[in-house]
Symmetry: C2
Subunit: 388 residues, 2 copies
Amino acid sequence: MKIGFEVLGEDGATRARRGRLHTLHGTVETPVFMPVGTQATVKGVTPAQLHELGVEILLSNTYHLYLRPGPEVVHALGGLHKMMGWDRAILTDSGGFQVFSLRDLSKIDEHGVTFASHLDGSRHLLTPEKSIAIQETLGSDVIMAFDHCPPGQAPVPEVRAAMERTARWARRCIDARTNDRYQLFGIVQGGIDLDLRRASLADLTALPFDGYALGGLSVGESRAATWSTIAAVTPTMPVDKARYLMGVGTPEDLLVSVAHGVDMFDCVLPTRNARNGRLLTADGDLNIRNLKHRTDDRPIDAACACYTCRNFSRGYLRHLSKANEILFATLASLHNLHYLLDLMRGARAALDAGTFASYRAEHLLRRGVDPDDPTRQASSTPPRAAEV
Amino acid sequence: MKIGFEVLGEDGATRARRGRLHTLHGTVETPVFMPVGTQATVKGVTPAQLHELGVEILLSNTYHLYLRPGPEVVHALGGLHKMMGWDRAILTDSGGFQVFSLRDLSKIDEHGVTFASHLDGSRHLLTPEKSIAIQETLGSDVIMAFDHCPPGQAPVPEVRAAMERTARWARRCIDARTNDRYQLFGIVQGGIDLDLRRASLADLTALPFDGYALGGLSVGESRAATWSTIAAVTPTMPVDKARYLMGVGTPEDLLVSVAHGVDMFDCVLPTRNARNGRLLTADGDLNIRNLKHRTDDRPIDAACACYTCRNFSRGYLRHLSKANEILFATLASLHNLHYLLDLMRGARAALDAGTFASYRAEHLLRRGVDPDDPTRQASSTPPRAAEV
């Protein structure tokens, strides 16, 4: 099977799609949630455990790997897959989002972005060409174009300028490509301004990208604005290309966005929240550090099949968390990742069975969200476990 | 098989023994190294990974579990085995060593030790009776008597007084026992004074303990003194009872002490050193944080069969360590534990084959130690990997 995206079917009741992303490191069933391995590791989780979780693709980060250990080290260690012991697909972000997040540290011009390393203050330059070259050296299966991502609250002229620069840089990314062993995705910018979003999409779809991402969302705007932007933009995205919503990742975000036709997601939320003691369940989040879990011998979720829920109680997890034990990060991350991966496994099965609309509604309701207006809390079913 | 210790055979050339410790949570092949799970977890390692490593017994700590989460919580969560998801044997230290390590925090009298928690300064009292009661609540398979452990440099009168108190407390531990679902070990004190050691051993062997531990070693005295004490005391220990050398755990310590007839060991060394980047190999330790490992695509030890060495390079491990990634603690701990567990597996196989003397010599030599005088470096074979 040659690399690329394949739509297997479209939902009748929503705009959700079942698909497959074919890569040189295996096929990824979509819709899919991609765990984040910023520094060439999903924090606290071994590749063997990722396999057990059923992970088919994970995300890593050009900005971080460029600074440490450096692409020359990754190359010497056989590329990113070999280095981190991961034989399935890898998507790498371009570094655009990260360098634009370094406030006061960036000098931006048409050539690229000059920034100071968050590690040691050393000065560096990232350009579209350099980002693609680094990602090719890493050996990613999905490479992201280098984009200009403005802050969530930026005024329209700034958003427009960033969107226009993103289009010019996108062209340079396409031109910088040296091989076809990977898929190259363009990143649609334009904030929550629908005219700008449509203009950005038009610019990018004029270029031969293998997929299209929505960037610049969930960066400070309201959730209603995020979702209405997704709802408005996805219908105009190419139907035969993968659609990737970047950095978005609550269970509600995933359910809502899959229904709008998004295929791919990534977010640090499950692992970062895990390390802070915030655990995801079908019935709402729970904060395992709360005193009430002290002697609770039940698992986080009795219906959950993850290693953590099959073997450990809330009381033990609370103890590990309070004692700052490393094992807590591992067990909590395994659970949260399993929850989101399983939510997407269920979504794919529901799409295959033609029951996705009710799957979406049921899971939003259980999480205490009104399926007809997911920005509102459900009136009749307060979340049973929510407490954070 | 009823619980207890069984000697399977004695080495002809050394005083090493092959044995089995039978517990309600399985049989432990000896000589054995026990990983330390101070706070009811071996730091950074899941029970599934401990099983993969072949661990048959691990150690946990009465002092730490008493303070956090507290024995009542462990009890509510089904006992220590159930709580931590570990179905094999557990040995618990009595808390004696820990409370005597809290300098300036202890008030010691014949009744017990009053101390301030290292967590919050709250005042607590541990007595022989209380230590046994806590360990029975935890549900340990091997319970240690509550002893008085003097500092390594204590003057002889202080060592003598501690040794005599240890004997009186040992009697109280025996009397405090309420059931026979576990084995109760006495702890021989007396520092490096052989007369005191022999007196302590005589006191304790007069009591019906199921095994005997050597405490108060590796607490500041020279390694030569540690080993000569072990060499002098072990021949007078009961042959039909397990012998446990507490808190001792370099590869050299294990090889030398097994030859003197020690059956059981525990030490935080493999996991603590792992977290600090110091990795054990047959040819000496290496510090993975050194620059020279930056682009080294070889495993820590090409001959090692552990998960880490089968999947990851020195260069990647150095990266994880420099980036302070949680996964580093896990992968490094898995390797170091595997090394010590495998060293003991090899020792048992050599004992079964009647080749332990040469196994001991070969492994000491490879570690750069003179087998005829392990306190000296081998003259002919400088350690190949030693660099720390």
